[in-house]
């Protein structure tokens, strides 16, 4: 037989497609061609595979080798096809017998060792979903591959080891050091809410945001603890449920920001892009099939924009789609990639360019037109989606620290549990996701509850969408206080929380 075949996986965004790798060896002048829409990094696989095969002590077949990656119309990229190409070629040369239905993933080093690749988790998940649970991955990716339920993952440290397993006559170098990527283990600094002095209102706001998954805007002069508070929000959030953890881990695996040694990511991620970030870096981008950006890496976690008015308008506007739909669809010439992006948005801003326009704003040196322009960037459609807006004032010497993270996180867990009980049987999990109509139906017969809202609506300080959003926050406040339904006080508080900053 002059035809060798095996399987690999091509990733488009987070979606994996099973790819047939076929190698045909024709008795003609030696050549090696790769067809099936490979991109530049995949075309280089030819040179890597050839070097790796000869370095492993296997003879390179002097034939006209045509490797086809089928379906040939699906664009493919990356180095994860190296192992499959090598196995198919050697099988075609009858140097080994490739077992049917086994998926091969991995990049080859020139000396024949196997290097880890990105995106192993979604790739293995796709293979399992396609009914091919037997997967060979680089040793350094084995822990990640084994996270997929139902996967029969086998690790290999070199091409020679794989070939020997399949019956090739080759010496397996037992001293092969597997390529292990040293992840810089980020020693997660213990961020405790007790570190924040004063700011009782802001801390309560943070608790409400954590309990209901509401977006949050903090306005205050420099040095009042906006950044500190935002960095402590993930600590208040409960662990991710398993389905979410798999999804979040898959995104981070594709983005290359994930240490498989730690298992699935179960803590909500925290992303704080610098304000010079480009739209492509926030929503995802890159040539060929785009890669996930900060918004997708913050999926099921917190996306924190410090100095939000300093971000370019384009970046702020691109966030509207994920805020609405919870996912990002990035279209490029080679195809569209779909990444989840259901994050909790936290914005921090100074009240004006000089940062001193708090209270009566007597210290502020900005012109009114400067102030308007500064905040104008945030206002409008984006700010309308932010449920909680809080103004921070400089702390006083006598201010005391509040509850520790563990205490607040406990209250958040109870409130989330209450919300989950109420929302059982619906597709929503936190108060922030629920449509307004559903909330109004549950409010009961007491019409006076909506009285304040109706007045705000008539005065024009609240939009119709704003009414729904105030109701969501009111339900979260009721959950936090252990009430079955919001009272008039809860609705008043929610209205206050929404309009206290620059929004009113």
């Amino acid at each position: 037989m002059v035809l060798g075949r095996t399987l690999a996986v091509s990733l488009v965004g987070l979606t994996g497609h099973l790819v047939d790798v076929e190698a045909h060896l024709a008795p003609s002048l030696p050549a090696f061609t790769l067809v099936g829409l490979p991109d530049a990094s995949l075309s280089e696989a030819r040179d890597r595979v050839r070097a790796a095969v000869t370095s492993s002590g296997l003879p390179w077949p002097n034939r006209r080798i045509t490797v086809n990656l089928s379906p040939a119309t699906l664009p493919k990229s990356g180095s994860s096809f190296d192992l499959a190409i090598a196995v198919a070629t050697l099988a075609g040369a009858e140097l080994l017998t490739a077992p049917a239905g086994v998926v091969h993933i991995g990049e080859l080093a020139l000396d024949g060792r196997l290097r880890p690749v990105r995106g192993v988790l979604p790739a293995v998940a796709a293979a399992v979903a396609a009914g091919r649970p037997r997967v060979v991955v680089p040793v350094a990716n084995l822990a990640e591959a084994q996270l997929v339920p139902g996967a029969l993952a086998v690790g290999a440290s070199s091409l020679a080891q794989v070939a020997a397993r399949y019956g090739a006559e080759v010496d397996v170098p037992d001293t092969t050091d597997p390529v292990v990527v040293e992840h810089q283990r980020a020693v997660a600094p213990v961020l405790d809410l007790a570190d924040v002095v004063g700011q009782a209102e802001a801390r309560q706001c943070l608790e409400v945001a954590a309990a209901g998954g509401h977006h949050l805007l903090m306005v205050g002069p420099p040095g009042t603890g906006k950044t500190m508070l935002a960095a402590r929000l993930p600590g208040l959030l409960p662990d991710l449920v398993e389905a979410d953890a798999v999804e979040v881990t898959a995104v981070h695996s594709v983005a290359g920001t994930f240490d498989p040694g730690d298992g699935l990511l179960v803590r909500p991620p925290f992303e704080d892009p610098h304000h010079t970030a480009t739209p492509a870096s926030v929503v995802g981008g890159g040539s060929g099939i785009p890669r996930p950006g900060a918004a997708s890496r913050a999926h099921r976690g917190v996306l924190f924009l410090d100095e939000a008015p300093e971000f370019s308008t384009a970046v702020l506007q691109t966030l509207r789609q994920p805020l609405e739909h919870g996912e990002l669809v990035l279209h490029r010439a080679q195809g569209a990639a779909r990444y989840p992006a259901r994050f909790q948005l936290v914005l921090a801003a100074n009240p004006c360019p000089c940062g001193k326009a708090v209270g009566k704003g007597l210290d502020c040196t900005c012109r009114s037109e400067q102030r308007r322009r500064y905040f104008g960037k945030l206002s409008g459609p984006l700010l309308d989606r932010v449920d909680l807006q809080v103004e921070l004032v400089p702390a006083r010497a006598g201010d005391e620290a509040g509850d520790a993270t563990s205490v607040v996180a406990g209250r958040v867990r109870v409130a989330r549990g209450a919300a989950a009980d109420r929302l059982r049987g619906t597709p929503w999990r936190t108060g922030a996701e629920v449509p307004g109509g559903w909330l109004r139906e549950r409010l009961g017969a007491d019409g006076s509850l909506l009285h304040d809202l109706d007045r705000a609506l008539d005065r024009g300080t609240l939009s119709l969408r704003g009414v729904d959003r105030v109701l969501r926050v009111a339900w979260t406040l009721a959950d936090l206080d252990g009430r079955a339904a919001p009272t008039r006080g809860d609705i008043g508080n929610a209205l206050l929380l929404r309009t206290r900053g620059q929004g009113a």
Binding site: P27, S28, L29, P30, N62
Partner: protein
Amino acid sequence: MRAKDAVGRYGEDVAERHLLAAGWRVLDRNWRCRDGELDLVGMDGDELVVVEVKTRRSAAYGSPAEAVTRLKLARVRRLAAQWLAAHDVRAASVRVDVIAVILPRSGAAVVDHLVGVV
């Protein structure tokens, strides 16, 4: 005669014996004209075959077949037309083969016959 020429000539001898053993008629060997040289011309049944023979003493610098470039094959093809013009041979078709010969330091020569490479 230089050593590499001797190797080449010996390789052509090996290739010729290989073709004769396969039942070919060898019509010409080292046919020269102004544009170059054809190593072997033979008849495989009623098909005229122009053979390029490439010989090496080891595969250390790659298989000899790899050294037959596209440019070289284009010239062989052109020469085949000239050979046909100069000889009165009626062939059903014409093709170009490459025979790669490796002459190890000890043991028999290894012949790799690549059929119809153009």
